[in-house]
């Protein structure tokens, strides 16, 4: 009973409050999203990533930093599911704790990149003129360099480390977002509903913030999710090159890097972190695809 009345409350044609209208809208999007099996799988992977990170101490049988030199480079067994690395650390435990590192990178980059790209792009597209020219030239400068090379340069300047790696990735990741937001804004600004708010005497900032940005948001969320795989790979790449998270932090890229000397004899050292990166990147990609179908439609 309670369930059917809640569904009715969500799907009603005549909601009685803003909150009910918003929740109803979200519920309809969820229904559409749910029909896409692959997207659901992607969501499952991302949720699993969150849960593993949250409950890492419960899921990891051993301390990810505890060395055990006599037991080094052991193949997968019931005691060490994914084997041990060259310092005798349990790879399974390290991968479980590595989800936390990955999540930190992902969340920090999203917090930095999304808003910067969105604001620069929306302001550039809506205001036009010299603001547009200035902001877009800056964007072009950043776009002119290959992303990993630019990130490398920044890390080299800032010094290796997880925080600096995140900052470097963020600095190199925002320009495409600004481009997307600007392109969207150029379409949106010529719409009648924007003319209508202008006719109500709204200030430029109010129009950009309250009317243009909400329309750009869905495509940026989709883009961020799709980009997440790339961000994780870049972070892993920096880790692999020794410029990201520093040992002994269990970062997946750095783990692959550490295993590269044994890649032919002790395959498991590099393979399992590699698989973890693949699965998480795939999860974000599938999720992004599903979100695009639901959110980007007009």
């Amino acid at each position: 009973m309670a369930v059917t009345s809640r569904t009715a409350w969500l799907t009603t044609d005549s909601p009685t409050s803003r909150r009910q209208a918003r929740l109803g809208q979200l519920y309809r999007q969820w229904l559409a999203f749910r029909r896409n099996r692959l997207a659901l799988a992607g969501l499952g992977i991302v949720v699993a990533l969150l849960l593993i990170a949250a409950f890492a101490p419960l899921l990891a049988p051993q301390d990810p930093l505890a060395q055990n030199l006599p037991g080094r480079l052991q193949p997968p067994s019931w005691q060490h599911l994914f084997g041990t690395d060259s310092l005798g650390r349990d790879i399974y435990s390290r991968i479980v704790y590595g989800t936390r590192v990955t999540l930190v990178i992902v969340i920090l980059v999203v917090i930095l990149v999304g808003p910067i790209g969105l604001l620069i792009g929306a302001a550039s597209g809506y205001l036009g003129g010299w603001v547009d020219r200035l902001l877009m030239r800056i964007t072009d400068v950043f776009l002119a360099f290959p992303r990993l090379v630019l990130a490398l340069a920044f890390v080299a300047a800032l010094g290796p480390g997880l925080e600096n790696a995140v900052i470097a990735i963020a600095i190199t990741a925002w320009p495409p977002y600004a481009r997307v937001a600007r392109a969207e804004t150029l379409i949106i600004r010529s719409q009648d509903y924007i003319a209508a708010v202008r006719l109500q005497g709204a200030s430029q900032w109010r129009i950009v913030w309250k009317h243009v940005v909400p329309m750009c948001l869905p495509s940026l969320i989709v883009r961020t999710t799709l980009d997440m795989a790339g961000i994780i790979l870049t972070a892993a790449g920096l880790g692999f090159l020794g410029l990201g998270a520093q040992p002994p932090i269990p970062e997946w890229g750095a783990m692959i890097s550490a295993g590269r000397e044994q890649i032919f004899d002790q395959w498991w050292v590099a393979t399992f972190p590699g698989l973890a990166i693949c699965i998480v990147a795939l999860g974000f990609n599938l999720l992004g695809d599903g979100l695009r179908d639901v959110m980007d439609q007009r």
Partner: protein, 251 residues
């Protein structure tokens, strides 16, 4: 002495790059009058409306609204006197805002209190049931959307409404409902209308006087009675009139 006109346009010229889209246009509209502007696409009729509304800022000439000469950049007070209704009800409402959000926005911008009551009144004035208040545009039909757009224009209680083909995207039966609504609102609120349309019958039904435009210039100004009597003076106006009567098979 006659009363100050609600709208006075003198020697209005608009250029888009090299093309001269409005040429030396002058007309006046009295308070409470409904004035039609008729023309084919490219006649500049919608551009005139956008200049009056302050949406187009590249023009020369003189525009006075309620006796006040208007600068290119309008004051906030101007928007409380004049509002506009657009042609396409599917493009003129923000897709991510409920009816309530749309109607509350002008009230917030102008710092008007009592939003609840004002929104309720605006909705009942345009014949929208209160249960539609928290619907999104995609949950409304074309006619209902146009009612929301009219409510949005009226919520600031303007005296002038600029109507840009308000019914040309609607089915005829819905057009009749919206035109009836516009007529009764005008009488109840003593509004001044400028109605831009390509449909002579709609203009004759809604307006007392009208201006026929072609290639950016005013061709002929006449009363609705002249139009109904099929007695325009200029060839072009007569040609439009004949064309609007439908197809005629020769011999």
């Amino acid at each position: 002495m006659t009363a100050t006109p609600a709208i006075a346009v003198e020697k209005l010229n608009v250029f888009f790059g090299d093309s001269h889209v409005v040429k030396d246009l002058s007309f006046t509209v009295s308070p409470g009058e409904s004035y039609g502007i008729v023309g084919e696409s490219g006649s500049g009729k919608s551009t005139v409306l956008r200049v009056l509304a302050g949406l187009n800022r590249d023009w020369s000439g003189a525009v006075a609204i309620l006796g006040e000469s208007q600068p290119k950049l309008r004051s906030k007070a101007f928007y409380r006197s004049s509002q506009m209704v657009f042609q396409d009800p599917y493009g003129s409402l923000h897709p991510k805002k409920t009816v309530d959000d749309t109607l509350a926005e002008p009230l917030t911008i102008h710092g008007l209190g009592d939003a609840q009551a004002r929104i309720g009144r605006a909705m009942s004035d345009v014949g929208l049931p209160a249960s539609f208040r928290f619907r999104y545009p995609h949950q409304l039909s074309g006619g209902q959307r146009q009612r929301v757009a009219i409510a949005r224009a009226l919520v600031l209680e303007p005296t002038i409404l600029l109507l840009d083909e308000p019914t040309s995207a609607l089915d005829v039966s819905i057009q009749a409902e919206v035109l009836n609504l516009l007529t009764s609102l005008r009488h109840a609120r003593k509004l001044t209308y400028i109605l831009v349309s390509h449909d002579l019958a709609v203009v004759a039904h809604m307006c007392e006087r009208l201006l026929v435009m072609q290639f950016g210039a005013g061709v002929e100004e006449m009363t609705a009675a002249t139009l109904a009597a099929r007695a325009p003076k200029t060839d072009y106006a007569r040609q439009l009139l004949t064309a609007s009567e439908g197809f005629r098979r020769a011999g």
